[in-house]
Symmetry: D2
Subunit: 386 residues, 4 copies
């Protein structure tokens, strides 16, 4: 469709446009959009070759392609940012792996564990999400929209396999109508971002609860908090509260996109343009929140003394005492009743609590050695996939 | 933990309980829940062995495990139901591949295509979603929660790799706290169900629009419609409207689950129980909707005459005429202006429209041959993955 | 349109149908729906008069009318159920008005208050929502849809003012198209239900947090909790966790309805049928949740000893000490700094804490007298509006 | 708490700060927030009086108060902007009241109406929403948060009734804890904005459908559309598509706020700060969308010729023919069957269609006279409430 000279001219002119405008303010123009503006400038620079640039193309397939490419780039940045956060969590999990903490179920003290085991929860779940992102990148690369044109493809002899390969995809899409109508990669990315945001706000909610006056487990980093204008006695965990609140924009973006897409007829509809800023804002918010949390994790510390004071409460040694009877041959339910009837004893000693966490024997348990083993396994996984 | 005799007794007693109660009404009982009830019945049948059944277990890891197993089973049923729907769509796409239809962008007639090409859009997109489901099944199988116990694992020497393998998983989960706190597989399944529902309602919305009085493209199957109580002239596309409306319960279930999970502290919380009926209802609704649509696709027909009457409107041959000039050497933008100025000609002839759809040359285009080729490729994919 | 005899016949036949079928299982029938079935039975009973029953009517305006009537009835039941809950809260607020409790901001102990003041928060906010419901009932009654017919009204001389008055409305609607297309009263009711659910889950979240091991402020009513299958030391606040989780179905129903309505064309669409079960389920869930919470509030108790132990922590007397300096003439900010520098003193005495709550002087403050005054004001409001 | 001189000084200093900074960029400062910054500047200007400015106050009650005041101001702007849109719709409804158009149910041609009757649907529904806004303004004004202080009120003798009256409220709030914990006015405003957005997108969806090639009912205003980069034959209804898409941000903001509020404990939490930008953005988007639609309504026109061509299709005179038989004594169902069997007659004549719309007799029907009467009634309502 282009002579060799036209091709050279266009490449040179596009390089010049990039040099003149990249990272600069948007030029004033009457053009309907950026695609039209670029064609106009190209035509001014190289004549007819510019007028040929849109051959076998529509803005419909161009924006669909750019959106997948943006999703791929965001996916890569997310994987990298998650790797940093997981690394920070694993590193802290190891250093906190002997710091005894009461674990909770139903928001009630339940059994002894460690701060490291708690931190590792988030590393393990985020690593799982990162593996999903890696699959999605391959999934998205398998269907390049470019060449779908407006809605039906083109009568011109364009080989979409070449376009697709040049842009880093593994194949062109199978239906030009599907490619220009759908935004599945956006939905898939937004769903993953919601899962990440759920973990970010869960971490924040835990830290806020751990910082509550009578627990005082954390040494909350002052650079992430503020004082009170009225109450001289207060310092507040503001950064974690803001993170928990801001996560909700990420949590609801998926529903926003679904609402937008609901009811649209087949073929490109201009409504779809609304997905672009939604996706970009949600990606950036998630990246920023991951970065904030990575810095916060590095700065967070705990009070062994307050943790221990709490851990002695609530008879949280009961399960281990019951399991000791089970190991000695008593049926579980009988041991359960026996221990339940002898709860009103003295608080557990620090030594007993430490002994329990070291006695956990199952894979993925709260034992310090297991926490360190799993943290190393997660770090090794990251090393393999980076 | 169990003698060989106890093991045999328990296996026999569990078989008997299944024989007595499966698919029967729930027995009257004061037991707190089904797990407790089963333990009680086992103990009545086999004594101490029953009292040992809950060794190194909690309802927390049991419900987490059962939920993943439910998700895996739902995933399989969905893949199978989607395969039926995709097969129906591909089969119809092939038989409709020569039936000329005006394609739309911005809900405006845009270019000639075929009914088969339109139907294939849904097959291609659903096949893509099905591949995602296949990945998710592997993803879910890689982390069996059983053995996580209440929150911290157990001090008893239970090998979670054996449990995991026996239940069809590839590995035990890495963090007992993560496994009992999270419901990621539910979120991931609900997100995919939302994408499926989006396509189901989009198909319905298209068919409703295609059935509108002045288009009258469809021969709407009367068994999927109703009359009007007041207007003698009406038959209404009720099944498609109900499908479009009911899809919204599926579309919003993901947000429901996210809202429920937001703000929960680490460790099992009883709120999580609300995910179970939500997931089950949403899965069943999606399976039913797929089944309905599969039957509908088989019954749907089109009026070639009405399609052609529409296709002659709106100058939808313009792009092909422009591309013919481009093929002859005119720059695209010049050809675009030239054609735009000569639109007020006579309606396109049927022959011209047919010639255009046969002239599409790109991969994934609206050409009848390409529709048949892609349909066969999708059917071959299904054959490989079933 | 009807003779006097026909009118009498129809009234008698309708009474008989009601007597035969009300609260019985749905009769077997080939009729398309209930409206059609009733017309058939009437015709069998009274001949031509039955065939006239649908005159100047459509199912479109009938279902729209019945939905508003359902919303009005639900509104009334909600106001009544909220009155019971508010009464229970006010009654407990008065009896708990001297029970000192540390109030929190940012989930940190902040200032002394009382349990009564805390409970009153919910009474005050729910009373505000109840006033909104009262307005909405009037709002809904001002536009009776009946007589809108299918979409355009009727050419028959039906006086919609008579229909409207007979059904308890104050006026017929102004646009038959608006009445048959819209479901605003459903959206308005769902939005109010979401606000109620937000308070229900907030009460639950507070009680769960107050029941946490180291606080142990509540004497959690055992009939609303369960034990642990693995941990002999645990009793869990299950009813409150289930309430918090189930509230999420109510919180998301509004978004479900909006999604369903999005993109629908003017005029009745069968999709609208999906609003009916959604509204009914959400209303029933909210009524049940209110009833559960009313019973729970009556059964809940607190430990004065544990409350006091907590209240002595966190220097929560600081603001009152600062305000004492302000009352003596020191500028606020200066007093704030002065108190902030002298925080590491001994825990506040019980007497000092009691003195502070009695020293609050502003309207709506945490003073015991003010709590009792506001509770009585809310109870008097209820008495006036019931 | 302040001497007369201090009061004068503060008033003068605040005036000066306003003069120096209003509508200017935010000054550089280390202050934690604007409240703290103002106090610092005041102290620099007037000494101790500045240090007293925060007496009996907290940022918690200040931001709660400012948010209600913002909601009240937004409410007023919305009522005014809705009045403009309703006026535009009523004005066009009157001028279009004789322009015959086929009304639809189930997206199928159903009965004759007019373009004016269609436009009036939106005016009537928006007027209803505007009445709700007027109630909400009174509702919000009945509970001024100021004086709630941080969480418990104050021990200083501040009369909240004076504060409340000075700020335009009718009473102080009844619970300082409720006032600083809740954001009900935001939820109520967001719910109304969602209802408005639903109508805006419904209008857009109708116009897009009316502009579809074979209907071509609209003369779509070219300044609100664009051409196609690939298809020379296309002009697209972009502004209406963008409006329909952008409305989805408004539709989902309510769910965003609910998600943020879910799970928060009693008392101020910093998460609440996230409501402010969400509310402001959603209000501004709604105001802009109303303004756009008001301009669009003024520019929109219709093709009587194309409307009539459509109206002759689909036997939409059937209901009127049936009702003529009913008026002559035939039972409705008998007439319904009779007309249903004689549908395959010639297309309705223009005269017959015009006769039908003039024959509608019910309140709120599609008759031209009734459209004009209702439009005038809505305009008179606006005149009374502005």
């Amino acid at each position: 469709m282009l002579t060799a000279d036209e091709h050279t001219d266009l490449a040179r002119a596009l390089t010049q446009i990039a040099a003149d405008h990249l990272d600069r303010p948007c030029p004033d123009s009457d053009a309907e959009d950026l695609h039209t503006w670029i064609e106009g400038v190209l035509t001014a620079l190289v004549g007819d070759a510019g007028r040929r640039i849109h051959t076998a193309r529509s803005r419909n397939d161009q924006v669909a392609t750019l959106l997948v490419m943006y999703a791929l780039s965001a996916n890569e940045r997310l994987q990298s940012r998650l790797a940093q956060l997981i690394t920070a969590l694993c590193s802290r999990a190891k250093s906190w792996s002997d710091l005894v903490m009461p674990l909770q179920t139903h928001q009630q003290f339940a059994a002894p564990g460690t701060v490291g085991y708690w931190a590792l929860r988030f590393a393990a779940s985020l690593a799982r999400i990162r593996a999903h992102l890696a699959f999605l990148a391959d999934h998205w690369r398998s269907a390049c929209p470019l060449g779908s044109a407006a809605v039906a493809g083109s009568t011109l002899p364009v080989d979409r396999r070449i376009q697709s390969a040049n842009l880093g995809f593994t194949a062109p899409s199978l239906s030009a109508l599907a490619s220009t109508s759908a935004r599945d990669e956006c939905l898939e990315l937004l769903a993953v971002l919601a899962q990440i945001a759920l973990y970010l706000q869960a971490f924040a909610a835990d830290v806020i609860a751990f910082s509550q006056t009578p627990l005082a487990w954390t040494k909350y980093p002052p650079q992430f908090g503020t004082g009170s204008s009225m109450m001289p006695n207060k310092t507040n965990p503001d950064a974690m509260e803001l993170l928990r609140g801001d996560a909700c924009a990420i949590l609801t973006a998926h529903a926003h996109a679904l609402t937008l897409l609901k009811g649209l007829p087949s073929g490109y509809n201009r409504d779809l343009q609304g997905i672009k800023p939604l996706l970009r804002d949600t990606v950036e918010k998630t990246l920023n929140a991951c970065e904030l949390l990575t810095a916060f994790v590095a700065a967070l510390d705990f009070s062994a003394e307050h943790l221990l004071a709490s851990a002695r409460l609530g008879n949280i040694d009961a399960t281990a005492r019951m399991e000791a009877q089970v190991a000695a041959g008593t049926p579980l339910r009988e041991a359960h009743h026996a221990v339940a009837e002898t709860l009103s004893t003295a608080p557990a000693t620090p030594e007993a609590l430490t002994a329990i966490v070291h006695a956990y024997r199952t894979i993925g348990s709260a034992s310090p050695a297991e926490t360190r083993r799993v943290a190393d396994e997660l770090l090794a996984q990251l090393a393999r996939t980076e």
